[in-house]
Symmetry: C2
Subunit: 304 residues, 2 copies
């Protein structure tokens, strides 16, 4: 047992996975939960999510040793303002938001002295959301980035680290600005681009009937999976990580224009060189154990 | 047995999968193969790919009832010019190229009267290439589009259809222009965009050390898989499907700019509405049985 009482605020994919995983690990004495939506609370009670589902955030965080904000990034400030005065002295407040700079700005000021603020971000998710989407193995062997702020208590940081490790995540520490740039590249921009491509396909639906859907397996369906994630979560991510996202998108459009030009002018060498260079990154990812080499993510069963 | 002798030209992923699948189905009396590279021919002989690996395309197509061009799209014209005079009267010539308009333009003129030209395109692939990449189940329950040209013999078309069905593909007939537009949306543009995003990440490698690789699981790794495909194949696809690709890319950039603007101006409503709309397409794909609903393509094992 790492914390006597853990409180999870916002009972969606991440919080529900944290609960099942915490229970699997025996990492908390008791877990309380709260969600703004009474429907989500009812569902949580029905499926046994959390030892205790409360009807207010204030009630949920009472006496908690660890409070984790699992709401969309844009809602974190308001939740912090509400629960701040009710946090137990010596408690740790953390979050799982996909953007760190803005969360730190908006949550930090609401926390009383004596409460340890240790922002975090588990790099694990699926395209599903809500209390029923979670499962205990979501964080297994995935990264969890902890982003301590100025003056974070080393002991509070160490304890939170051991908690995530009990949930079978690999923990790294990083600063907020760097986090937001790296995530803009590995997650935020890919999501925006996938959403855009799916939007274009949707516009074309009348021209192509439902053929875009019928023949989606040619590559497009991977984009639709990425673009099926929760709209509120992603709206908040882009509004919160504006600077890094726009910076990376700027580079993206530049390179896309260069490739477009190569297509238009028939510059096969440029295209070939570009497509060869990008292969190396895939090799790096496979060597780092971050994906399966099985064709089509293992969706295809191989037999000769 | 559907064809007495089948000849496969270009022994890569698609041809090798066709061979294993043809053998599984007993769909051909004998299968001959040829590849330009002697290394590929040696590999094919070593792993038992094709009943007979020939040292020239002309030798491979001798007496064949079906000849399938499985080379990159840009190489099809030259291969057709070479083998055209040696095709058996009454034989069917097909291909598996990802673009159809250009293949028809470049291959058609080289075929003697009495040879049936039935272009095709199986919508199945992986990010791997070469003679060792193939496996018998690649086409199982996937689409194969046949794109008959003016004057295609209905019987030749019907026989080729039954051949692909024996390989367990679902066959549809479509015209070339429509094929090239639909594939620009479902495959060609998604690939170009994935290549571009991976290129941007590669540029940033120095800024982010290897963190882009380390934390790729956040979404980016799906792009790297798409962008790991064969550079020659994809160069040829873009040069061959120039018009439709540029048309779709134009729409893509337009929509991306609108989303970028919404991020810059903080227009959360626009973002939320856009992200909600794109979810519907994913539902359509799942309903059409074109992908798994398992989180993360089933990469993640679900347990509570
Ligand atoms: N999904 C991922 O891939 C992923 C990965 C890593 C981190 N994250 C981060 O994790 C957080 C949660 O994401 P998720 O995927 O778990 O989302 P989710 O499944 O949509 O869950 C979020 C839950 O929070 C509730 N909520 C919203 N505002 C609230 C408030 N003020 N007080 C209490 N509950 C509130 C929502 O209720 P309503 O539905 O009724 O609004 C919803 O049930 C986000 O900050 C996201 O950036 C997500
Ligand atoms: N991969 C996919 O996802 C996919 C899906 C559907 C359709 N297709 C289409 O299928 C075709 C083959 O793709 P693939 O994935 O099988 O590619 P691949 O694995 O790279 O195989 C192509 C093979 O053709 C050989 N080749 C090139 N020029 C040749 C020539 N003039 N004569 C004989 N052999 C030649 C190549 O040899 P070298 O390597 O020595 O050049 C290579 O071994 C392409 O037209 C592609 O558009 C691909």
């Amino acid at each position: 047992m790492i914390y006597g009482k853990v409180a999870l605020i916002g009972l969606g994919l991440i919080a529900s996975s944290m609960f099942w995983s915490t229970r699997r690990a025996g990492a908390a004495g008791t877990v309380a939960g709260y969600d703004l939506s009474s429907e989500a609370r009812d569902t949580a009670r029905r499926i046994g999510l959390c030892d205790n589902v409360c009807d207010s955030a204030v009630e949920a965080v009472k006496d908690a040793d660890l409070v984790v904000l699992c709401v969309p990034v844009g809602a974190m400030g308001a939740v912090a303002a509400e629960i701040g005065p009710h946090l137990k002295p010596g408690a740790t407040l953390s979050d799982v938001g996909s953007v760190k700079g803005r969360v730190i700005e908006e949550v930090g000021p609401h926390l009383p002295g004596g409460v340890h603020f240790v922002p975090g971000h588990p790099l694990a998710g699926t395209e599903h959301s809500g209390p029923e989407a979670g499962f205990s193995s979501l964080f297994d062997n995935r990264w969890c980035l902890l982003v301590p702020v100025e003056g974070t208590d080393p002991e509070a940081l160490a304890t939170l680290k051991s908690y995530w490790e009990a949930l079978r995540a690999n923990v790294e520490v990083m600063d907020a600005e760097h986090h937001d740039l790296v995530l803009a590249v590995t997650s935020h921009c890919p999501h925006l681009i996938a959403y855009t491509m799916v939007g274009v396909a949707d516009d074309l639906r009348r021209v192509t009937d439902s053929e875009v859907i019928k023949y989606s397996a040619a590559g497009f369906r991977d984009f639709t999976r990425i673009a099926a994630s929760d709209p509120t979560m992603w709206r908040d991510v882009f509004l919160s990580n504006k600077e890094a996202t726009l910076e990376i998108l700027g580079r993206f459009t530049e390179e896309l224009f260069a490739l477009q030009r190569a297509i238009r002018t028939g510059d096969g060498e440029h295209l070939h060189a570009y497509f060869t260079r990008t292969r190396a990154i895939r090799r790096g990812i496979l060597e780092a154990g971050q994906d399966t080499d099985a064709p089509d993510f293992g969706r295809v069963k191989v037999e000769r």
